[in-house]
């Protein structure tokens, strides 16, 4: 990893649809060089996936998400990892973070209805042996996600020509 790799990552994180020739031009590199660097970072698992940030609400889809605070009993030999894995394997679970502080795992769950999410927590999550307790917080509104303001009111207001 050098400075150029880091720049490539920053650029792709902001816009994964940038073409290799655009990246090459912007970094003053050869197109082949850029393609190789990207391939290598994909193989190393540094670039995990190219995904698209979607405002589902605007698309008319009802999505319910909830942030669950989970307290767990760490296991001898495996710590939190084993129980985290049991949780993150569920496709309903969108993200899992090990936290410092009051609780241990922060689990983001998405479902179609509140009932669906609540049911998932009570039947799948809370029943795991190592889980001591859960606290469910439903998301009411998403303002900003992954560094992007979802309903950004800032437009290009510049004059089209200026000296």
């Amino acid at each position: 990893m050098d400075k150029k790799d880091q720049e490539i990552l920053e650029m792709l994180q902001d816009n994964s649809r940038l073409r290799t020739e655009q990246i090459a031009a912007m970094l003053g590199l050869d197109q082949k060089d850029v393609a190789n660097r990207i391939k290598e970072m994909e193989e190393q698992g540094i670039i995990v996936k190219y995904h698209t940030l979607i405002n589902w609400e605007k698309a008319g889809e009802e999505v319910v998400s909830a942030l669950i605070e989970v307290k767990v009993t760490p296991q001898r030999g495996a710590g939190f990892d084993a129980v985290a894995e049991r949780i993150y394997r569920f496709p309903e679970v969108k993200s899992v973070y090990l936290m410092s502080g009051r609780y241990d795992l922060s689990v983001l769950i998405e479902g179609k209805t509140m009932k669906e999410v609540a049911l998932f927590v009570s039947t799948k999550l809370a029943t795991i042996e190592e889980v001591q307790s859960t606290a469910t917080h439903f998301v009411l509104k998403k303002y900003k996600q992954e560094g992007i303001i979802l309903e950004d009111k800032e437009k290009d207001r510049r004059l089209v020509i200026s000296p």
Binding site: N15, A25, M26, V160, I161, P163
Partner: protein, 397 residues
Amino acid sequence: MIKWEEKLSPSVKGIPPSGIRRFFDLVSEMKGVISLGVGEPDFVTPWHIREACIYSLEKGYTMYTSNWGLLELREEIARHLYSNYRVKYEPSSEVLVTVGVSEGMDLALRAILAPGDEVLIPEPCYVSYSPCASLAGGVPVPILTTADNDFRVTAAQIEEKITPRTKALILSYPNNPTGATISQQELMEIAKVVKKHDLIVISDEIYDKLTYEGKHTCFASLPAMKSRTVLLNGFSKAYAMTGWRLGYACGHPEVISQMVKIHQYTMLCAPVTAQMAALEALQNGTDEMLKMVAEYDRRRRLILRGFNEIGLSCFEPKGAFYAFPSIKNTGLSSEEFAERLLMEAKVAVVPGNVFGGNGEGHIRCSYAASVENITEAIERMGKFVQQYSSCREEACS
């Protein structure tokens, strides 16, 4: 019925309106146009700066400030110039906060020019220098820089134009519209001529932070130059604060005190709201500023490679956010090219001739635009250029 034609000042009537205006009207009427004609950042002011300004309004900072500007801001400007360029200005007598570099330029010219004094102006350059020199009673004397010399003015070119009436030299690097920068070595040569002929230098360094290769040299930092330089700078470009209209002028107390007189009677002071925001920009704005500069640098390379690929020869701009490609091989004048490009390909650029001598045969393209827009604009321009070079070949055969 009053006959305005007879009543108006001849010296104002004699000034041509900005060449950009007509073009602006044309572009404004059209839809689907990608504009590379904008002379300002495509970022909005970083939020922490806007937030600081909102806080200042909440706290009731709505009053006049000293004619000179807030002392705290002048101190910060002085500190900033010292840490960047090792030039030491006294905040109480050598730093004046102005309404943009535009006002600073006007003040400097009015403070130094006696009727008939000549001002050397390397062109192509920003559109206001020559009209402001005329309005101040001076005589603008253009010096034509060329693409062959990367649009840098040379000491020899300056010396050639010096007459007993020459009072001042305007320098503006990094340059709008060419994107040219100038090295310390070349500035040293210019400094020798300046000293030899006892000239004043007005140095517009508004794009100093937008230098992508090499380091910017502040003209006032050269040996013996501080006392004869009026340094102009501001917040518009580096901190994406164009609409705030805030700049500063630094120089010898003798000249600054004269400039303050004009400023106090015509402007009173720069807006306090903008001054509070500028303070935040200088104190905490470096990180975001550097991010924006890195972004411009990438787009600079993108547009440059684009021009090379579509066969428009372009001198490599090393500063500001403009590229100034030559369109001579299309056989069109700058205005024809810009107008047809707009009508036929829906890309807006600024014809080079509006920036004075040697601008003809070039167009100014701003890369303060999104990557998508730059890519699309280059594609459209490629088709356009191809069409013109092929119909020229047919005409020749």
